[in-house]
C-alpha cells in the first residue's frame, strides 16, 4: 500500500492538535490536583496578625488579648516552663466552633513548641489560677457576649529567645494571631 499524499489541511490540523497539547496537559493536571493544592495552600500559606503586648485584636469573631506570659524554671536542668494566659471576648461564636484551635509557641529560629497536655505540678504551685483555666478547646463551647479565658503551658529549653504565641482557629485560616 502506498501512502497517499498528506493534504495541507490535514497537516495543519495535526500540528494544531500537538500545539493544543501544550495547553490541555497543564489544564488536566491543574484540574485533577486542584483540591490538593487548595488544601496545601490553606495549611501552609498563612498571614499573621501581629499583636503587641497588651493590645486587643479582633480575630475569628472574638476580641483576643494575651493576659499573661509567665516564665517558670523547672528543676532539674535547663528546662523553662512558659505559662501563656489569654482570653477571647466572643462576638460571634460561629467561626470559633467550626474547627479545632491550635496554640503554638514560636521562637526567632522558627522552632515550634506544642502545649503540654496537662499543666505540670510546678505550674499549680506557682500560678494556681492558670492551672485551673481550660485549654483552647473551651472555645468550642463559647457563648456570644461572654469572655473565655484559657491557659496553655509549654516546656522549652533555656536558650529560646524572642518567643511569640501563635493562635490559629481552623475556620479563620489563612489568618492567624501572633502575640509578641
Amino acid at each position: 500500500m502506498t501512502a497517499t499524499a498528506v493534504s495541507s489541511g490535514e497537516r495543519r490540523r495535526y500540528w494544531l492538535s500537538v500545539a493544543a497539547l501544550a495547553i490541555v496537559l497543564p489544564a488536566a493536571i491543574a484540574v485533577n490536583s486542584w483540591n490538593s493544592l487548595e488544601e496545601w495552600r490553606s495549611r501552609h500559606v498563612r498571614t499573621p496578625l501581629a499583636v503587641e503586648r497588651g493590645a486587643i485584636q479582633h480575630y475569628a469573631g472574638a476580641q483576643w488579648q494575651l493576659s499573661g506570659l509567665t516564665r517558670l524554671s523547672e528543676s532539674p536542668g535547663n528546662t523553662i516552663l512558659i505559662v501563656a494566659e489569654f482570653e477571647a471576648a466572643v462576638d460571634d461564636p460561629e467561626l470559633l466552633q467550626k474547627g479545632p484551635c491550635q496554640v503554638i509557641l514560636v521562637d526567632d529560629r522558627g522552632r515550634r513548641w506544642q502545649p503540654t497536655f496537662l499543666p505540670p505540678r510546678v505550674v499549680r504551685q506557682a500560678r494556681p489560677a492558670a492551672a485551673d483555666k481550660p485549654r483552647c478547646g473551651a472555645l468550642l463551647k463559647a457563648e456570644k457576649g461572654k469572655t473565655t479565658t484559657m491557659a496553655e503551658t509549654f516546656t522549652i529549653p533555656d536558650g529560646a529567645t524572642d518567643l511569640a504565641l501563635s493562635v490559629t482557629i481552623a475556620g479563620a485560616r489563612p489568618e492567624y494571631l501572633l502575640f509578641k
Binding site: 536542668g77 522552632r111 513548641w113 506544642q114 516546656t155 522549652i156 536558650g159
Partner: protein, 194 residues
C-alpha cells in the same frame, strides 16, 4: 512485513523490561534512611537520636511502675537506652523496629506499656534532649548483625528513618535478668542488669 514484526517484538521486549523493573508502591514510598552507629548522634531533619547502651537479658522484672511482674520471653529481651531530641517541632517517635539479619522486622514490645520513658510515649520538644527507652523481644539468632530502625511513624510515606547498625553485640552478652524500676531524676527509669 518482517520489519513490522521486528518492531513489534522490540516494543514488546522494552515494555516487558519496563514492567519487570518498575519499583512497587512499597519501594516508592519506603522510608528515607539516615545511617548511624551506636554512641553517635544520628541527625534526621526532624529529630536527632543517639543510642547509649544496649542490654540483652532473658527476663525483665518491673518494680513500682504500674504493672509489676516478671516478663519472660521465648527469645531474648533487648533493652536500648538512648536520648532523642526534636529539631524544629514537637513530635513523638512512634515507630522503632529491630531489623534482624534475616530481614524480619521486630517492632517494639508493648508488654511494658506502663514504664515511663518508653519511646512511643515520650513527647520530644525542640531543643530539649530526653532520655528514651526501647524494649524488643527477638529470637537469639537475630542478636548479632541487627539494625535499629527509628522513625516518627511506621506508615507515613517517605518518612525519615534512623538506621543504626548494632555492631558489636554478641550472644555472649546475654545476661540472665534485669530490673526496671521508676527513676527519680532526669532519667525516668532505673535499669539494673545482673
Amino acid at each position: 512485513m518482517f520489519r513490522g514484526f521486528v518492531a513489534v517484538a522490540f516494543g514488546a521486549a522494552v515494555l516487558y523490561g519496563l514492567q519487570r523493573t518498575t519499583p512497587g508502591y512499597g519501594e516508592i514510598t519506603s522510608p528515607i534512611p539516615v545511617a548511624g552507629k551506636p554512641g553517635q548522634r544520628v541527625d534526621a531533619t526532624a529529630f536527632t537520636i543517639g543510642i547509649a547502651k544496649v542490654h540483652l537479658v532473658r527476663a525483665v522484672t518491673t518494680k513500682n511502675v504500674g504493672r509489676a511482674g516478671t516478663f519472660t520471653t521465648s527469645g531474648v529481651w533487648v533493652l536500648v537506652e538512648g536520648a532523642a531530641e526534636a529539631k524544629s517541632e514537637s513530635l513523638t517517635l512512634m515507630s522503632a523496629e529491630w531489623l534482624g539479619p534475616n530481614g524480619i522486622r521486630y517492632a517494639l514490645s508493648q508488654r511494658f506499656s506502663t514504664v515511663s520513658g518508653m519511646l512511643p510515649a515520650q513527647r520530644l520538644e525542640p531543643g530539649l534532649p530526653k532520655p528514651v527507652l526501647m524494649a524488643f523481644e527477638i529470637p537469639e539468632s537475630q542478636v548479632s548483625g541487627g539494625t535499629l530502625l527509628v522513625a516518627r511513624s511506621a506508615w507515613t510515606p517517605l518518612e525519615e528513618q534512623a538506621r543504626i547498625e548494632m555492631t558489636g553485640i554478641k550472644p555472649d552478652d546475654i545476661r540472665p535478668a534485669a530490673v526496671l524500676a521508676r527513676g527519680q531524676g532526669a532519667v525516668p527509669w532505673i535499669l539494673s542488669v545482673e
